[in-house]
């Protein structure tokens, strides 16, 4: 599922509310019959262990090795002393290596993440998700800071998690073409409200215009018209 919308429409807030990185002001978030809102700290950590997340800026743990970053995916399941000291069990190390092999980075296990390129960093973040084996994967603009080729590669991998392992995927995207190509369901957000909900082939010109409305308060008419044109060209 892809979430589309203009900057400030609430895409990020929506995705971050699901694992409560952002506390919702009102309403309820229910996952598999369990209300995530209203969980205490311990329950929340448990459910977060079942929900993977990838970010626009990768959010790897700086100055630490690739292997440690991947192993972090199982913090919620490890004995506390192991995760806090970094003395991971051989089983966890083997799983982390297997996850790295899936994203083609096993040769980098001992490297510091700071030395990697943007695409490699996002692959490490994906390996962290593979390690975590979540039932749900959230993505906050996971491909927005990557070049087109790398972005497609990451999207293909994420689509694979959905198709082959049945991971439910909810991604914020700002690239309409990517959403069309990979998503099975698209949600359009405008000023915090859902303005579209359906499969990609139902997303036409009119629906896009509803999701990406032109600025009303912006002074000159010319600017508004141009803005609208620009957006449409970009989107279609």
């Amino acid at each position: 599922m892809a979430v589309l919308g203009r900057s400030g429409a609430g895409k990020s807030t929506l995705v971050r509310c699901i694992n409560r990185l952002v506390e919702p002001d009102a309403g309820e978030i229910v996952w598999n019959g369990r209300a995530i809102t209203g969980m205490n700290a311990r329950e929340l950590r448990g459910i977060r262990g079942e929900i993977g997340m990838v970010f626009q800026h990768f959010n790897l743990l700086p100055r630490l090795t690739v292997l440690t970053n991947v192993a972090a995916g199982r913090f919620a399941d490890m004995p506390r002393w192991r995760s806090l000291t970094g003395a991971f069990s051989n089983e966890d190390k083997a799983r982390a290596m297997a996850a790295l092999r899936e994203v083609g980075l096993e040769a980098y296990a001992g490297r510091r993440v700071d030395d990697l390129s943007g695409g490699q960093k996002q692959r490490v973040a994906i390996a962290r998700v593979v390690m975590q084996q979540p039932a749900l994967l959230l993505g906050d603009e996971p491909i927005s800071s990557l070049d087109a080729v790398t972005a497609a590669r990451i999207m293909t991998f994420i689509a694979g998690l959905y198709r082959e392992r049945g991971v439910t995927v909810v991604l914020n995207l700002h690239d309409v073409a990517m959403a069309r190509a990979y998503a099975t369901r698209i949600i359009g957000l405008t000023d915090g409200r859902i303005t579209f909900d359906g499969p990609p082939d139902e997303l036409g010109e009119a629906e896009l215009r509803a999701i990406y409305p032109p600025d009303e308060e912006d002074g000159g008419e010319t600017i508004t018209v141009e803005g609208k044109k620009g957006r449409n060209e970009e989107d279609v």
Partner: protein, 226 residues
């Protein structure tokens, strides 16, 4: 004080030129030993202060503190310990610990806990939230967030603050020599009182070398921890 106050600047120049030279290095063995004492006081007390302040500073950082009152209380404690000069603290501890380096060590530790606490809590507040979000998102505890999301970002700044405070502590322990802490500060003070200015020159040069050496060592270590 007016610009004309410096009309007699020549007096200071003449004082140094006439009395401070030639350098008298005859006490070099004692001076080196005293310098080691000064370094020991400064290094030990700043390290002890750092060990106390690193965990403490998390409670004084708004983005990590478990509750607002804990943040306020820790910050108030740091402000309090920081506001008392080392010299006053050392004097207060002399009746308990007697003359010698221990009152100076206590003074330096207490004051520097407040200094490190403030500096490091502000370093923590300025850290990038991204890695912290990632640790939270995999179900990590507050302690995981600190160890994996914050500490790696802090490391280089902790080192640079540490070495600066070590440099300050060396200077302070020289002053504390006046209240009996020993070290090269006390030696310098005694020689000054006995008008042995040629010896003072040597001691001043030694102190310069020591501060430069510490600065150089700090740069070396910070270069390796990037």
């Amino acid at each position: 004080m007016t610009p004309s106050s410096f009309r007699d600047l020549g007096n200071t120049v003449r004082f140094i030129a006439d009395h401070w030279f030639p350098v008298d290095a005859s006490d070099w063995r004692i001076a080196l030993e005293a310098m080691r004492g000064t370094l020991e006081i400064a290094v030990f007390s700043t390290l002890a202060a750092l060990v106390i302040a690193v965990p403490g500073s998390f409670f004084a950082a708004r983005n990590w503190a478990p509750a607002r009152w804990i943040y306020d209380a820790t910050r108030a404690l740091f402000n309090f310990t920081r506001s008392i000069p080392e010299l006053v603290l050392a004097l207060v501890f002399i009746p308990t610990l007697g003359l010698g380096p221990m009152p100076a060590v206590m003074g330096l530790i207490i004051h520097n806990v407040g200094v490190f606490g403030k500096l490091l809590s502000e370093v923590i507040e300025a850290t990038d939230e991204g890695p912290q979000d990632a640790v939270k998102a995999v179900g990590g505890t507050r302690l995981h967030v600190a160890l994996y999301g914050i500490v790696p970002q802090m490391a280089p700044l902790v080192l640079s603050h540490y070495f600066y405070r070590l440099e300050v502590a060396i200077r302070t322990s020289l002053i504390l020599g006046i209240v009996g802490a020993g070290g090269i500060g006390q030696m310098l003070f005694n020689d000054f009182k006995m008008f042995a200015y040629e010896k003072v020159t040597f001691e001043v040069l030694l102190i310069m070398a020591m501060v430069t050496g510490v600065d150089y060592l700090g740069a070396l270590i910070r270069k390796r921890v990037k």
